[in-house]
């Protein structure tokens, strides 16, 4: 039954495309002006309704690790810096300004005067110290506590080596000053301060309610919105926080985040005008080629890469020549063009595009002759004697099709036997973590705009490495980059590390993700960006927007427009 669902989606897509022109709320065909996938009647009032994806696991910023959770946490709480919705540049948030010492190891943040929590008490620098220590405390078990490890002493505190908070480089000399001492320079520290894990949480509410502090009625926040209502597996409703430091500039009165996971359901809700925004990914992929002609569909490069990894603890993947041969035999262009219908860009690197100043190494290429040569050098001419290998992937129609394509490429180009191994997601993860696989489907999403967020996962022994690959040269380059104070030289070191990873390492990059969003034309202030981060405080509903505006002063009725 599960397998046939995509066919229903396809059938539905076909019918939808046929009826798009029939609905009285859809606009005319492309020749006459923009065409829209969904109904384009703005909602009453200043409310934004959107598809937030899977049901949020928690909205406690310290515990947040997924995107639906992160969207809510960022709307409710504000960190020291916030992100510019267009450029992703850090801009002052709870902190009005900051300065850093010459060696880049000491940061001083100056909070705005008069900051308060949504229930009234003042918010001080001590709240930040307490919140960050809470995120680092082993008892909190924050999955992303590692983002704070650059702070002096933070890693030991997080690992339980010491339980003395005074050993962590965080101090609040007065109510509005926060001093952060780092173990090594972190050029992207300001980006990190906008990340959920580093958002401040209300000590008084957490103390009073314990785990239940995130419920409506208990939750106290400091961002543009407060939590008004929560319906299990259905929606989170936020309303404007009148005590927000910049409340006058927040134009949305209400935000409704729907917990809808099914892609077709999400598309239906958008089309029928029940929601104004389908966040990235909540568009059925078979719809995408058709949607590209619609003015309310939006796609932009996203900081994430789809790749295969090889288990180097298992022969024959312990041989770098075999890894090269397998890499050279993959035709990324064909996968992106024929299988993905151009909805994703082929990609030959582990780091995604869009890091200013990063000297990215040349991408891996497709070269069947060279692939055969490397395989022969490894002792398997024409694939003779090569053991049967398998590709592990979690259940998904797309993963299967790509795995089948790569299976065919390897068999045809190299003459080696390749099997497919499909498991449910939890079992796939377990197999990857236990290094119980040959080749596995992976993906990685960047946390902040820096190549380090991708390259660090392949460091020796990193929990996310999951390949058994370890190269002291690679580790040394990453370590050198970590201690490097000159940003340009640091990026050069990272570039060298990636070149080494691509030449010798265990990864086969396949494609670069892109965002796929549906946004109503009357929603303003939602800009596409590489992190897919959209501060809701900048969003507003343009009630003056009219689909027929271009007709103003023109003919009374458009002949193409059906009644």
């Amino acid at each position: 039954m599960r397998r046939s669902l995509p066919w229903v989606a396809l059938a539905l897509a076909a019918v939808l495309s046929g009826c798009a022109a029939g609905g009285d709320e859809t606009s005319p065909p492309p020749l006459r002006g923009p065409r829209y996938f969904g109904s384009v009647r703005p909602p009453h009032g200043d409310v934004l309704r959107f598809i937030n994806g899977a049901e949020p696991e928690t909205i406690d910023p310290a515990l947040v690790s997924g995107e639906p959770e992160g969207r809510l946490a960022r709307a409710l709480f504000e960190g020291l810096a916030t992100t510019d919705p267009r450029t992703l540049e850090p801009r002052p948030g709870q902190a009005a300004r900051w300065e850093t010492s010459a060696d880049g190891l000491r940061w001083t943040f100056h909070l705005r005067p008069g900051l308060v929590w949504s229930d009234g008490p003042p918010l001080t620098a001590r709240d930040f110290v307490w919140s960050w220590l809470r995120a680092l405390s082993p008892a909190t078990a924050a999955r992303n506590a590692g983002l704070l490890h650059a702070i002096a002493g933070a890693e030991d505190f997080n690992r339980g080596v010491t339980s003395d908070p005074a050993t962590v480089g965080l101090t609040a000399p007065d109510d509005t000053t926060l001093v952060v001492r780092l173990a090594h320079p972190v050029p992207y520290l300001l980006h990190l301060t906008a990340y959920p894990t580093l958002l401040p949480v209300p000590r008084h509410a957490v103390k009073r309610w314990g785990d239940a502090w995130t419920r409506p009625g208990h939750l106290v926040s400091n961002g543009a919105f407060v939590l008004a209502r929560w319906r299990q597996n259905q929606s989170y409703e936020l309303t404007r926080n009148p005590r927000y430091r910049d409340a006058a500039r927040v134009r949305l009165e209400r935000v409704v985040a729907y917990s809808v996971e099914d892609l077709n359901t999400a598309a239906n809700l958008y089309k029928a005008g029940r929601v104004d925004w389908n966040t990235s990914g909540y568009v059925p992929s078979p719809f995408v080629p058709r949607l590209r002609a619609d003015a309310d569909f939006r796609s932009a490069p996203y900081q994430a890469v789809y790749f295969y990894s090889m288990n180097v603890k298992r022969p024959p993947f312990d041989d770098v020549r075999v890894r090269r041969a397998l890499n050279l035999a993959v035709d990324r262009e064909a996968i992106a063009r024929d299988l993905l219908k151009g909805t994703r860009a082929p990609w030959g690197r582990l780091t995604p595009q869009g890091y200013p100043g990063y000297p990215a190494p040349p991408p891996l290429r497709h070269d069947p002759a060279d692939a055969r040569a490397w395989l022969a050098r490894a002792g398997y001419p024409g694939g003779k004697g090569f053991p049967r290998i398998s590709i592990l992937f979690s259940t998904s129609e797309d993963h299967r099709r790509i795995a089948e394509a790569i299976q065919a490429m390897w068999t045809r180009t190299l003459g080696i036997p390749v099997a497919l191994r499909n498991m449910e997601w939890g079992s796939t993860l377990q197999a990857m973590t236990a290094l119980d696989y040959d080749v596995a489907r992976r993906s990685w999403i960047g946390d902040y705009l820096d190549p380090g967020t991708f390259l660090e996962i392949m460091r020796s022994g990193d929990g996310n490495n999951r390949t058994g690959w370890s190269d002291p040269r690679y580790d040394r380059l990453l370590l050198a980059a970590r201690g490097e104070r000159d940003p340009a030289r640091r990026l050069r070191l990272l570039g060298e590390a990636e070149a080494l990873l691509l030449a010798d390492g265990p990864v086969i990059p396949i494609y670069h993700y892109s965002t796929t969003e549906l946004v109503k034309p009357y929603v303003r202030g939602l800009w596409p960006n590489a992190l897919d981060t959209h501060p809701l405080r900048d969003v507003w509903i343009d009630h003056a927007w009219r689909p027929g505006r271009r007709n103003a002063g023109g003919p009374a009725a458009d002949p193409e427009e059906r009644p």
Binding site: M1, S4, L5, V8, L12, L16, C19, G22, G23, S39, E55, E57, T58, D60, L63, S65, P138, A139, T140, A141, A142, R143, N144, A145, G146, N158, R159, D211, A212, T214, R215, R231, Q232, N233, Q234, S235, Y258, S259, V260, E261, D262, N264, T265, N268, L269, K271, A272, R274, E424, G426, S427, L429, Q430, A431, T433, R442, D462, G463, N464, R466
Partner: protein, 305 residues
């Protein structure tokens, strides 16, 4: 009668214990655990989580604690939703599933029984064939096809009803109809078969011979016995309609309990799965008991021992 009920209720205990034990073992046999994530959890955090949920203790001790707490209907916090108790999730989700299923069952009976009666009274006429053909279609079309088709027509074509979500009376219409369709059909077929059998019996002929109006013959004498198959189907149907609404919940984004069972198993959310499985098991057994009681009440020949 009372003794019968008490005995049945006592039998619940060993049955639930077996189910609980099997589920517990099966969950632990599945590869991976609740804290596996694409992004690896740091060892310190993993240890803290294991301690919080008692996973650092021997399996036997975990099992014992689980049984003791389950007996008090306490399953602890969910793994996936760490700030929520499994009990709350079940109560909240079941409220919605029960409402959806209740409406669907009501529609099935209110539409299915009259259709079945009409078909039986007009056996082998055009009306009969039409009803039975419609019933066949209703049983055959899976709800993951019917749901999207209804959405296409009423939400995206006519803009009459919301295509999904559980907000206000209008949002109930399409999920209830989708879920009810197969049961309408089934109830109609059962009613027709039951009525046909009863209508041929001697006491009906006697009733007609006495000159009773046809309305009284059918509604008072025939229907009561003719509905017996429907009644015995009611238990499984109620269970299926409330517990089997998973696909409808998915298609219409209805916040019911069904999705938690499936996702809970995928996520290795031990506590949530245990809670939902035991709840469903107890619910099913209670329904079966109710059906047996109703059967005895409707048919004097049935004796409860």
């Amino acid at each position: 009668m009372t003794r019968y009920v008490v005995r049945r209720l006592l039998l619940f205990v060993p049955t639930l214990w077996v189910i609980a034990t099997l589920t517990f073992l099966l969950m632990r046999l599945a590869p991976g655990g609740p804290f596996n994530a694409e992004r690896e959890i740091p060892p310190a955090a993993r240890a803290a989580l294991a301690q919080k949920y008692g996973l650092d203790r021997p399996l036997a001790a975990q099992y014992a604690t689980f049984l003791v707490r389950a007996a008090r209907l306490d399953f602890g916090p969910s793994y996936k939703f760490p700030t929520r108790e499994v009990r709350e999730i079940i109560v909240e989700g079941f409220r919605v599933s029960a409402e959806l299923g209740g409406w669907a069952l009501l529609v099935a009976l209110l539409v299915g029984i009259p259709l079945g009666v009409i078909a039986a009274l007009r056996q082998n006429t055009l009306a009969d064939t039409a009803v039975m053909a419609a019933a066949l279609a209703g049983v055959s079309i899976p709800n993951f096809v019917l749901g999207p088709l209804l959405v296409l027509a009423f939400s995206l074509g006519l803009f009459w009803l919301p295509p999904a979500l559980w907000e206000g009376p209008q949002s109930r219409v399409l999920p209830v109809l989708t879920l009810a369709a197969a049961y309408v059909a089934y109830v109609a077929r059962l009613t027709r078969a039951g009525m046909l059998e009863v209508l041929r019996q001697d006491f009906i002929r006697t009733a007609r011979a006495k000159g009773l109006p046809e309305r009284v013959v059918v509604l008072k004498h025939a229907l009561r016995l003719g509905l017996l198959p429907v009644v015995s189907y009611l238990g499984p149907a109620a269970a299926a309609v409330i517990m089997g609404s998973l696909v409808v919940e998915q298609v219409f984004a209805v916040p019911g309990l069904g999705r938690y069972l499936v996702n809970g198993a995928f996520n290795r959310d031990y506590t949530l799965v245990m809670g939902v499985v035991l709840f469903y098991a107890a619910f099913l057994m209670a329904l079966n008991l109710l059906v047996d009681l109703a059967y005895a009440w409707l048919d004097p020949r049935v004796e409860l021992k």
